[in-house]
Symmetry: C2
Subunit: 132 residues, 2 copies
């Protein structure tokens, strides 16, 4: 297959289509210069990425009001698609924000009712498709 692969840059619209289609992504933080990575169930709405996590978790501690990088991808034998969202994360606290987040219908993998909602406001959304 050497030499037959192509790399395509996704449009912003295509990036959001990929994000809307994937249930799980990974969040990277860099608090104190130390990289951390977490898998999260997520959803998208109105140009933001939303996910749920647990109160008191390390993720909550690291993510609040900090810059994050978030990635979702899909792989088949023929093609790989990856989208990266960079932006700022904030914990949702107002009733209006929480109602909007809950309306997205994300299903946490462990749903014990104790959830914290986090919203990423993107500064940059990029994506690539590799086809072979």
């Amino acid at each position: 297959m050497t030499g037959q692969a192509t790399i395509t840059t996704l449009t912003t619209e295509e990036c959001w289509e990929v994000l809307a289609d994937r249930p799980v992504g990974r969040l990277a933080t860099a608090a104190g210069g130390d990289p951390e990575i977490f898998p999260v169930s997520f959803g998208v709405a109105d140009g933001h990425v939303y996910f749920v996590t647990k109160p008191g978790s390390k993720l909550v501690e690291l993510v609040v009001n900090s810059r994050v990088a978030f990635e979702a991808d899909e792989w088949t034998e023929q093609a790989a698609v990856s989208v990266v969202v960079k932006g700022t994360a904030e914990m949702l606290e107002t009733d209006a924000d929480l109602a909007q987040a809950e309306a997205i219908g994300i299903i946490p993998f462990v749903d014990d009712g104790k959830n914290v909602w986090v919203r990423i406001t993107p500064s940059e959304v990029t994506g690539r498709r590799l086809t072979r």
Copy 2:
């Protein structure tokens, strides 16, 4: 499903079994306090994680001799497994190191022959299984 989920900590051996089984992971870096995340094709050997990337890529620039966090996961309807490796990345340069890395048989998604090999030496390997 509320309240029926269980979270299990994986043993180190189980973590390596998960890593050995997954073709794709995501690498997080924190150079300059700015988080970055990259999907990579990877393999494991002798207690290290190996992956290939392209010469001159942003990943190479960020990863060399720096602390990284690497994650691989697998999701089904019933269970989610995630393993995180923290450690230090280095670019392989000696013939002996390159021969060892190439023997793992990682297949880069875009295989145009221009590869840089990176090895992560773990300081910590942790994993969790969520069952619902």
